[in-house]
């Protein structure tokens, strides 16, 4: 009996997964995922994980998918353009290769436990009481960490989605032109480079000044020795 349920749930899950990947319209893909999630909850129930299945349906299929639905409704858009040719073919091929390897690994594994149906059933396995006890004793730290993570995600979502003062057009976000300051650069700033530079007037040319020619010695600048 459980085998029948197993196959129904498994086929439901796999077809849901295929639907997500292959359906063009993202709205339909979301719906396919929702179906996949419910089938997965069924598989969880078969594995005696009551609380997890319950959480899956309420949290995942309930809250997260609803969020998806809203965003898809807002953003919309099917794919008008074809996917990049290379990866459209290679993608699934890589996936297939990985699946084959994983299956071989699992089926050829020397783990004895996977041939059996699982450990002996203890009463209350998978009930909220046991999960709750574990969360509050042995796994307290990850529990608290997860709650902080949720807080961070909430803050992040708010920050990402807020409007900024109406500046939404890409064209509005140009920076204003930095004002061009024209500094008056002095001709002679007294740097050592200028001090040691080669800017002397030629040596033996008399320089005309208001006092008469100031020449080097030996120039005919008016007689006198």
């Amino acid at each position: 009996m459980s085998a029948v349920f197993f196959f129904i749930a498994a086929i439901g899950a796999i077809s849901g997964a295929l639907g997500v990947v292959m359906l063009r319209n993202p709205f339909y893909a979301v719906l396919a995922l929702a179906g996949h999630l419910v089938s997965l909850a069924g598989l969880f129930l078969l594995l005696r994980a009551e609380f997890v299945a319950f959480a899956q349906v309420i949290v995942y299929a309930g809250a997260v998918m609803v969020l998806y639905v809203f965003v898809v409704a807002y953003v919309g858009g099917g794919e008008a353009l074809p996917s990049g040719a290379v990866l459209r073919v290679l993608g699934p091929l890589f996936g297939l290769a990985l699946a084959i390897v994983l299956s071989i690994a699992m089926l050829g594994s020397s783990l004895k436990g996977i041939q059996g149906k699982g450990a002996a059933y203890t009463l209350g396995f998978g009930t909220p009481r046991h999960i709750g006890t574990l969360l509050l004793t042995k796994y307290l730290f990850p529990f608290e960490g997860a709650s902080i993570l949720l807080l961070v995600a909430a803050v992040g979502a708010v920050v990402l989605a807020r409007r900024r003062r109406g500046l939404e057009e890409p064209g509005d976000l140009e920076r204003p032109e930095a004002p061009r300051i024209r500094a008056i650069s002095p001709g002679y700033i007294g740097s050592m480079a200028e001090g040691a530079g080669v800017r002397l007037p030629p040596r033996h040319e008399p320089v005309e000044s208001e006092f008469g020619p100031v020449g080097a010695p030996g120039q005919p600048d008016g007689g006198g020795w």
Binding site: A13, I14, A17, L18, V20, V21, P26, A29, V30, L37, F44, L47, A49, F51, V52, A55, Q56, V64, Y68, V71, E79, L81, S83, L87, G91, P92, F94, G95, L96, L98, A99, L102, S103, M106, G113, I114, Q115, G116, G118, A119, A120, T122, F125, G126, H130, I131, L134, L135, Y139, P142, A146, L149, V152, A153, G156, A157, L160, A161, E168, P170
Partner: protein, 99 residues
């Protein structure tokens, strides 16, 4: 059914998700395929929890669900912000973080 069957199903779901991430261009659908991969991992965790008899795997799976929820939140927030900026909703076009 033996635990091994569940593991095989988990592997198949995971790989379908991986192929979907590579093959689709709409970021929303890419995120959906990412969810698929996470769910595949969750199934494997629950199966092993059943195999060993302890509930650690289930707790782990719960935490994974929390992580997935946060990631979806932030991812969708990004997509909404991108949409608001009138940029194309296409992972191949959003490639400014290149070297």
């Amino acid at each position: 059914m033996a635990i091994g069957w569940y593991l095989v199903v988990s592997a198949i779901i995971f790989c379908i998700g991986a192929g979907g991430v590579l093959a689709r261009r709409n970021p929303l659908v890419v995120l959906l395929c990412l969810e698929l991969m996470l769910n595949g991992a969750n199934l494997a965790l629950i199966a092993f929890a059943r195999m060993w008899g302890g509930e650690s795997g289930q707790v782990f799976a719960l935490i994974v669900m929390v992580v997935a929820a946060s990631e979806v939140t932030v991812g969708l927030g990004l997509i909404v912000a991108i949409f608001r900026r009138r940029l194309p909703i296409d992972v191949d076009e959003l490639s400014e973080l290149h070297g």
